[in-house]
Assembly symmetry: C2
Homo-oligomer: 157 residues x 2
């Protein structure tokens, strides 16, 4: 019935609740960090439930492809639309119709509201990567709703 | 892959986050009320996505049976284990293995922790009933983990 939308409803409520008591710019930054942290732990937990053979990825690029395909389908019932890399540890994952931004009108009007709908998912990606043994920095940007780019930077050790 | 557990992971994080800054008994009561409110709005939203013919229930008991079967399966991938009523507006819905309590050890040890894992679901039931045109009061009780009883009281108008 409605199980596929349950996550989206709950995410919306979570964002609304964190912003309900928003005490200005400092509070906003903390709320973003709280959302990112929740996403991280959910991503870690999801990562831990992957089949064992998934955890034996050898190539970084394979792990990123796996996130774009299997993880995205599990969470959003669709695949990421494109994946690009500079082959130096930076990956850009683009979703042309990101589900958590869809409830917002398209265009530029609500663009400044976008970051709070992206923080959880940045954390989710970072958490799943962490469980797969990759430390990363994940940020998101929106040029025009509902297109969204996630940038994953993996520092070379 | 992992989509069925996504809701449970997110719920766990939400509870943890609300309790992380817990300022004593007054704060706990407010956190419970926040969770119940989030559940209510998610329940309402789920209710609005039901097929139209579902909204044409005539009998109160049919609505309750629907919650125990379809709504529970949509959210928890299982049916409620039993439904009892005094035929005067009070219904007791029992889940012998409530998924949101399963991560806790069974027995009496963590019984006092249980209420925070039930508030969201009480709201969920109240919200779905509200969308179906029924005002109610929903409470939950746990005698031994992970058995849980939800009591729905529908005031006679």
């Amino acid at each position: 019935m409605a199980d596929t939308v349950l996550f989206e409803f709950l995410h919306t409520e979570m964002v609304a609740e964190l912003w309900a008591h928003d005490p200005g710019p400092g509070g906003q930054k903390m709320s973003l960090s709280v959302l990112e942290g929740m996403g991280f732990r959910v991503g870690q937990a999801l990562g831990e439930r992957l089949p064992r053979e998934m955890l034996a990825f050898r190539e970084e690029l394979d792990v990123l492809k796996f996130l774009c395909k299997d993880l995205w389908v599990a969470v959003f019932q669709k695949q990421m639309d494109s994946l690009r890399t500079n082959h130096q540890g930076t990956y850009v994952l683009q979703d042309n119709s990101f589900p958590l931004l869809l409830p917002m009108a398209s265009g530029l009007q609500y663009l400044e509201e976008a970051p709070k709908f992206l923080a959880f998912t940045c954390g989710l990606l970072r958490g799943a990567l962490c469980t797969l043994g990759i430390e990363s920095v994940v940020t998101a940007s929106v040029a025009a709703l509902p297109v969204c780019k996630f940038q994953v930077v993996i520092p070379k050790s």
